[in-house]
Every structure is written in C-alpha cells, then in structure tokens.
C-alpha cells in the first residue's frame, strides 16, 4: 500500500508547500521530515493513554463511603470525557510537532523549521560547505534512518536534521543541489 505523500519523510518538489518569506522566483525542491517511524513513541504513549481509564475508572466507581458510591456517574462521565479529550489534544500536538518540523531545500536556500515551527534558521545554498549523513545506532541502521548535518559559512554554522529516512540519499540530494546551484541550474529529476 502506498503511503500518502504528506506522510512521507522525503518529498521531492512538494505541492502546495511554501514558507514565510519565500521569493516569487524561488521553488521548494525538497521537503525533509523526521521518519514516520519516530512517531512510534507517541503512538505507543497514546495507546497507554487510551487504555488507562479501563483500569482507573472501575476503581473510582468502586470507591464508596457508608455503602454509597463516592462519585456520581455524571462526574465519572465528565472525567472520561476530559481524559479522551486530552488524549485527542496530545495526539494532535505530537502529530503537528512532527508534521511542522521540516527541513526545506529551495532553489536558493536551506531552511530549518524546528519543533513547533517557532524556531527557523536559513542559509543560502552558496554558503553550504559540507554535508554529512550518519546512522548512529543499530535501531537507525535497521530502519535506515539517521541524521544529516550541514556545515555552512553563515552565522548558523551547522544545520542538523535528525532521524530522516535514507540519510545518505538526502545528503546526496543536498550536495547535488549545491553543485547545481554553483553551475546555475536547479530541479530534481
């Protein structure tokens, strides 16, 4: 089954993707996002969150004083509602943090949009000096995910993007882009 494009970690020439401050003659060539495998931790967290009331609520229901239940059904219902509403909020936040933490390569720049899209760094492609990829752990090697580091001559010396799918492919793409920029052409085939 083919994964929808918006869930991919590496998207070439992404459609409908732009960033604040993009020039008219600038084109987004590559969008890199953390691997979808990294969402595993919060998905497991979400599952634990989901099943917790099945354990807690019967205990609360059983709590009694002098033969009468301590908490009425309406309060318990409110608790359950609050719990699942906050689960929804938790999953929404985690998903959006994953979705909006991206690395963009355009025809002019490299833009690093960090967690929550609140911390943004950018550098010109011409400032890129060195691109490195690494697969640091056994886990990363199993799933072929890793980090990509970009050394620049700009004020922000290093751009690092962690846990991307196929880091060596990403490194190669960025290096090619820099080389093409130097030779005056752009676009990924």
């Amino acid at each position: 089954m083919k994964r929808p494009q918006y869930l991919n970690s590496l998207i070439k020439n992404p459609t409908n993707t732009s960033y604040e401050g993009k020039d008219h003659d600038e084109e987004v060539l590559l969008l890199i996002r953390r691997s979808i495998i990294t969402t595993f931790t919060w998905l497991v967290g979400g599952m634990v969150y989901f099943v917790t009331p099945f354990v807690i609520i019967p205990i609360i229901k059983r709590a009694a004083y002098d033969g009468n239940a301590l908490f009425d059904n309406f309060f318990i219902l409110s608790l359950i509602f609050f719990w699942y509403m906050s689960l929804f909020g938790y999953l929404l936040r985690e998903f959006l943090d994953w979705y909006f933490e991206v690395f963009l390569v355009t025809t002019k720049k490299i833009i690093d949009i960090d967690r929550g899209a609140t911390n943004i760094s950018e550098t010109l492609l011409t400032n890129v000096q060195d691109v490195t990829s690494e697969t640091p752990s056994i886990f990363a090697q199993i799933f072929n995910i890793g980090n990509v580091k970009i050394q620049t001559a700009a004020e922000t010396k290093e751009f690092e993007f962690g846990m991307v799918d196929d880091p060596s492919k990403v490194r190669d793409f960025i290096s090619d882009m820099v080389a093409r920029k130097d030779s005056g052409s752009h676009g990924i085939k």
Binding site: T17, Y19, F71, F74, S78, M85, G89, L96, A117
Partner: protein, 81 residues
C-alpha cells in the same frame, strides 16, 4: 456525641469530594487555556510553513477548544448537581 462524630465524618467526605471536583474543574480550566494558546501556536505554524492543510488544522484546533469548553462545563455541572 457519636451522631455528631458521624455527621462530621460524612461532612468531611462530602467536602473531600467537592474539593476533588473543584480540582478537576481547575485542571479543565488550565487545559482550556492551553487549548487556546495551542490554537495560536497552530496559526503561527501554518504561517511559517504553508502546506495546503491550514483549514483542516485550524478546524481541528477549534474542535479541540470546543471539546475543552464542553469538558469544563461538564465539571461545573457535576459540582452544581
């Protein structure tokens, strides 16, 4: 004396339950504030990275605020009744 003691004990239990309900109400109010702040953050996210899903994310965020509001109302009602 014994009756008085029993009365006081049941009063304490009732007070404890009300405190727990009040605590949950405060938590839900804090959560509602968080949901509103989070909605602002989503707007900033959408502004910084335009993806074509802005409307969906805004709708989800509004739905989240609505659910938080319903939750707060439910806790208020559970204290009143």
């Amino acid at each position: 004396m014994e009756l008085n003691s029993l009365f006081s004990e049941s009063m304490m239990v009732q007070t404890g339950i009300t405190i727990i309900k009040g605590f949950m109400l405060i938590i839900s109010l804090i959560y509602l504030t968080y949901a509103v702040v989070f909605s602002r953050r989503i707007k900033i996210m959408n502004q910084n990275l335009k993806t074509g899903y802005e409307k969906s994310f805004n709708r989800l965020s509004k739905f989240h605020i609505f659910l938080s509001l319903v939750s707060t109302i439910l806790f208020i009602l559970s204290i009143i009744y």
